[in-house]
Symmetry: D2
Subunit: 317 residues, 4 copies
């Protein structure tokens, strides 16, 4: 346990990619936070909402653990949480086996179905005869190997340090550049300062079921030169046909153009939830910088507001 008593919850169990991400993001929280696994994404967030943890780490995109929609749904309701950091981890898979077991002896290989799907090439070459078995997580598969239920598990690299198993192979993913994105979430408070390469996340519910309503919302962003980086729609309240939209875009709420766009979306939606402005994991400048057709800077927004004030007062030069 850390000396500070500060805790970061993460969607466990130990040995998954999410633990790896939580390790990478722990520096965003002062003190020497202890990492504490939670059984599900909702329980991870509940730990933060309830105060048991100061922050929570969950996957949001392309997780090999399949937890993405759970994250989206959990963030859209209950007490608001905001992201203060993100991590993008390369998806690398390790194959763990019971100590001493050779490849030729592996008859069953377990993992989360998403993970198994991403290592088919290696399995076909090296374990062509092994039965493929689905587990509830990559770490759960390792647990089952330790228990003797299966012979091998496809896991995150970090699992090798948690389980008394041998590493049969590393880097076995079919695609080299796959990646998973994670967020570190806290209760609302002081926002991370803008860095010039930030991302903003929101959930918005359109005010009306009306043709073109999403096109209008995205046009609000486009007209301000804001680059959308991700969009998801999720049925609202368990009903198909009524949707929440999850939007990620470049920029920080502290920037004028982003703030102005958020105000426009707030007016346009019946519900807008701010999920945070935080440094992008890839610290490169956003690809679309300068892509604002009008090329507006914060100074242009300030000048426009000053102009408006003067025009209303009749004091235009």
């Amino acid at each position: 346990m850390s000396s500070s008593g500060v805790k970061i919850a993460y969607f466990g169990p130990r040995g998954t990619f999410t633990e790896q991400a939580a390790l990478a993001l722990a520096g965003a929280v002062p003190g020497e936070p202890e990492l504490v696994p939670a059984a599900t994404v909702p329980l991870t967030l509940a730990a933060v909402r309830g105060g048991a943890a100061v922050a929570g780490c969950v996957p949001v995109e392309n997780s090999v653990e399949g937890a993405v929609t759970a994250t989206m749904d959990a963030l859209a309701v209950d007490e608001p949480l905001v992201a203060i950091a993100e991590a993008v981890l390369p998806v690398r898979f390790t194959v763990l086996v019971r100590p001493g077991l050779a490849a030729a002896d592996v008859r069953t290989v377990a993992s989360h179905p998403h993970a198994i799907a991403q290592v088919q090439g290696w399995l076909a070459t090296h374990l062509p005869a092994a039965e493929q078995v689905a587990a509830t997580s990559t770490a759960g598969a390792a647990v089952a190997v330790v228990a003797g239920t299966f012979d091998a598990a496809v896991t995150a690299p970090v699992a090798a340090a948690h389980f008394p198993l041998d590493v049969l192979a590393e880097g076995v993913a079919d695609v080299d550049d796959a990646a998973t994105r994670f967020l570190l979430l806290t209760r609302p408070g002081r926002l991370p300062a803008p860095t010039g390469a930030d991302r903003t996340s929101i959930v918005v519910v359109a005010a009306a079921e009306r043709t073109g309503v999403l096109a209008e919302m995205l046009t609000e962003l486009a007209l301000r030169g804001i680059n959308l980086t991700r969009i998801e729609s999720r049925p609202q309240k368990g009903r198909l046909g009524e949707y929440r939209f999850y939007l990620d875009f470049d920029g920080h709420i502290g920037e004028e153009r982003v703030g102005d766009a958020l105000a426009a979306l707030h007016r346009r939606g019946q519900q807008l939830r701010f999920l945070g402005s935080y440094p992008k994991a890839e610290r490169a400048l956003p690809a679309a910088v300068g892509a604002d057709p009008a090329g507006n800077t914060d100074a242009d927004y300030t000048a426009a507001n000053a102009w408006l004030t003067n025009a209303r007062l009749g004091t235009l030069a």
Copy 2:
């Protein structure tokens, strides 16, 4: 001369539709203003800019005197002026003749070419043999009849009171519902209060020659539910291919959605000139009220701005 010494300039001469409009709009200026004709639209505006008159009345749309583009060009440059009132006059034409002259004796009929074009039906029936002669204004035609140069003049109704001529016929326009729009302009100062049925006029120069730039500007209005009522493009600085856009739309700069849209256009344009927010001549509610797809009221704008402030401070409920 009025006792107050207050003067309203108008694009004359006496006896034109513009004098009629100036009479109708004089109540917007305190005191008992004297109406003073100016020879051209630029001279009318110069009288206001220089202080010789407190206000100036000029035609802006569909004038039978053909002065519209002159007005547009004169408003876009030099010291800013803003409209405080508008008038829409039905286009009614009167035929004046030398005293005692019968229709059968009329061999020449003079007027501004736009006026002549609008009474072809009546002329074909009642003065089929008369030669049609172009004059520089409808009142100028009346002057020429007084001088004996021509036999008849097609004029504004008000001309009957200014010239020692007989009224041969009234209401001779081919189309009953033609109309001309006039503005009463002053130096910038206190704006007319919003009435709920106002119009705002601007001149804007796009910041860049870029495909779609006007579509973007109009989309800024449409996304805020603002109804465009008129648009003109005029070559800028005497060069074809570089344009100023003249826009009229429903609403008052004091309204949140209009102010927000103007700020957006200000950012987007390299030049934005505010030409005033003033009561619409037709006092009906704008046809498109409620047409905002998002249905936003001023309160929605205020709420969105308050929300943004709280989101930036991390104090969202």
Copy 3:
């Protein structure tokens, strides 16, 4: 086995919601098709692509089995498949127990994590002391109960017919109106005829990483009055930041406005995959019918094309 030898593959195992959907949709395939479970979504689709089955049934939205992203990814690559029918099933859960077991004796309850999450209310009231255990599918949980590993399973109603277990409770979902959507997919061929209440699905990759590119694509739909019903973005080729967009919208490719919109998206995208036009499960008229701002019918499209031909030939009336 059916007499016809015609097979419909579905994402199994037997006893899941997907089997229920496959039963409901089997009528869309001539003959008396036999339903054959496949272990994963990709294997289900592979059976269709390879000809082992004439059609395949997979979940696409809000599945309690968590298979949605797998479906999306599997449809975007390899040989094209098109949907010919969809089913929307209410999400109803049944609790199965070993024969003779009373609620008071249940110490472990297993199911897919998404299913467990949706019955928390019932579990808190009726099985408050039971340990909740994750399984790889709802039917997998039933298998484990049969094997004696766990005491109870939360399953689809259909599972009661497949497993030698007792029904402890039915209709235990927290939310009454939850639903899951499934597609029945075939190799491209004759399309289902338009019914007036159809849906079209596509996958599109934007031609360029450019601010506003998705706003433009959705505006192409909105300008033609086409109601978007769902959108997802999925990272392409395993890389974050490059996305495929999955779009569902009202209408049939055989309709002029839908065909015109698809051609526009085809030009705009670097890849457009047509996933089918098929009757909507809810046979009501689309909510947004008549929402085309221009109100265009097929006849308007035909008339516009005829006009264009004449204008090009110089034969306009």
Copy 4:
């Protein structure tokens, strides 16, 4: 008279800028056309509609003769006419005086008011004491000087060849780069072939008075990368508040993207009148070539249509 009997009508009288333009454009008509002045723009167009002339030349933009709105209105109604060529003439003014008269002797100077407005600098320097008098055209002013009514006329350069007057000064315009644009119009028939630098002109009436309708029409152009070069709104049928829009944009109706856009505007409008596709006077490539955000060529349109056909037939590869 020409040997061919072919006639081009132009908005006269002789000696105006429009005659200059007609001379410049005569080569677009086979034979050796004779140029015939008509008294007004409507009469010029009537000569073409009635067959008395094969083509008519009229000003459409920034005319010193003030005839632009007359042209717009005359083109929007009655039998359709289409432009086959345009000319842009630099606005150069010449000052003509009675033979032998010196500048010091000029007491009155006449011209069309628009022309007078454009030579104020020269007049202030060289004829500061002369009274400025309005005439109905620049050539009309020259006629009045010949008749002895006035001392000097500000005219088009071509007027020097028509009237027995002396040239007092040439090139007296305040702004060097002013220009006027003219169209050569014929009855519909074979269109000029695309040259790669063409312009298309239309008149369109929106199908409904609805907020955002013009924004939508311009977005149809922008989404296809079509560069709008001019827009005017004119009250329809003499009523303010109902508008026709006059649009000029780059491209030729024979191009796929232009044809596709025209079909979209045709569907969207209650009236669309095609005014021709013709080579731009400035033969440079359009400034905005390549500005189509999607970068579509004719081949992309053809490919999209072929794709649509195959998708509808179920014959996609």
